[in-house]
């Protein structure tokens, strides 16, 4: 089973929920798919054991074979390869999508591919939580290819929890599309509701089962509750606006770590999700 923890809005508590759930449900795998700013390990404290370079294929041009026909640059819909007639041909890393199309259309077989590093994938472990995180290099235009690579390391025999990037764009799609269930973490504010609706457009399109965790549930308004009821979305957990949770969070300690009660609540949340995904 793969369970993604997502939200439209940033800062709602995805990482708090994902890490607490992982600790309470272990043995599991936890993937931090927020590759632009991975922070799950600030709460998990896994010891990193291995680091792998992540790379994408990138065109390399053999200028001895190139006759400047421009078929490659005509083909590329993103203008990722440039032909300066009689001078040189080069691909632009910020734009190239690594589709390999230029290589295919080149009549001279002048284009090959070589790996271009886009970031890192780190592996670690703590308290029977196998941890994988991606870290994209600064300046990369798209996080999605690295997020896709993280899912190569999932294990069919192990349940997986995914800490997703915020937003409702490509990175969120990529980090929820393999999931059996998506937990949407939100907060009872107009922003929380607005961005929850955005996130739901994605999960609905993907045909995912979803449930809500409402963080800071005792502040704001009750529009989220009404919305959930009207749309038959189960509310799986409410987390109060609590000084103890905030203080521990500020020290890098998740609720499941400092409180036996919260650990049990997250264990029950896990069982609830299991029962929704595979009804007995």
């Amino acid at each position: 089973m793969i369970v993604s923890v997502a939200s439209g809005k940033g800062g709602t508590g995805k990482t708090t929920v994902a890490v607490s759930l992982a600790l309470a449900a272990s043995p599991v795998m936890l993937i931090d798919a927020d590759v632009e700013e991975p922070n799950a390990n600030i709460l998990l404290h896994a010891e990193r054991s291995t680091t792998k370079k992540a790379s994408l294929p990138f065109p390399a041009i053999d200028m001895k074979k190139c006759d400047f026909c421009e078929k490659c640059s005509d083909f590329c819909a993103f203008n990722g390869i440039i032909v300066l007639k009689g001078l040189k041909v080069f691909a632009v890393p910020e734009i190239c999508k690594s589709c390999g199309g230029c290589k295919m259309v080149c009549p001279q077989n002048a284009i090959s591919e070589e790996p271009r590093d886009i970031g890192y994938i780190d592996f670690g472990e703590r308290n029977r939580v196998s941890f994988i995180e991606g870290l994209i290099n600064i300046g990369e235009s798209s996080a999605t290819p690295l997020i896709r690579m993280l899912f190569d390391f999932t294990d069919d025999d192990k349940d997986t929890i995914v800490d997703c990037p915020p937003g409702a764009a490509h990175p969120m799609v990529e980090s929820t599309k393999h999931s059996d269930f998506v937990i949407l973490v939100t907060e009872p504010t107009p922003f929380g509701l607005h961005d929850l609706k955005e996130a739901l457009t994605i999960t609905t399109e993907l045909g995912k089962k979803v449930g809500l965790v409402i963080n800071r549930a005792d502040v704001g308004d009750d529009e989220i509750l009404k919305f959930a009821e009207q749309n038959n979305i189960p509310i799986l957990m409410k987390i109060p606006y609590d000084t103890e949770i905030a203080e521990n969070y500020s020290r890098g300690t998740s609720p499941a770590e400092f409180s036996q009660e919260w650990r049990e609540r997250f264990a029950r949340l896990w069982i609830k999700i299991q029962s929704i995904v595979s009804p007995a």
Binding site: S73, F78, N79, L87, P166, M172
Partner: protein, 133 residues
């Protein structure tokens, strides 16, 4: 030699276009006669991405040796530099006649470094931070 000026049209009175990659078009000027010999409507106005570099490629392959434009983004700057195409700024100039006069009198200011960065184009939405917060 030929040079290109980003402009809204092909008349001497046509206003200059402050954009490069997504400029409406380019007047091609012959430096000997100082006449507008051609006007290229820019096919990259609505490009999904890479408008600047594609426009730079087009002008390089048209054989221009200099470009007069508002600002040139980093990718386009790289391509134009690779093709040894000089870049001059339209700052303070309003129409094609102004730009050609400034060229003639050697008053054009060189663009020394890339200006505005690229913009994701029509509906592509691929910016790395899109949809965050």
């Amino acid at each position: 030699m030929l040079f290109a000026i980003a402009s809204a049209g092909s008349e001497m009175s046509s206003s200059l276009d402050p954009r490069f990659g997504r400029a409406a078009g380019f007047a091609i000027i012959d430096s000997d006669s100082l006449k507008i010999i051609d006007y290229i409507v820019n096919p990259n106005i609505a490009a999904g991405g890479g408008a600047g570099i594609s426009t730079a490629q087009m002008l390089a392959n048209r054989g221009v040796r200099a470009v007069i434009a508002g600002a040139v983004g980093p990718n386009a700057f790289g391509v134009l530099s690779s093709a040894n195409i000089a870049m001059y700024s339209t700052a303070g100039l309003s129409n094609l006649q102004d730009a050609i006069d400034a060229f003639k009198s050697g008053k054009l200011e060189a663009i020394q470094s890339p200006g505005a960065t690229g913009h994701p184009g029509g509906g592509m939405g691929a910016g790395s931070g899109m949809g965050r917060f």
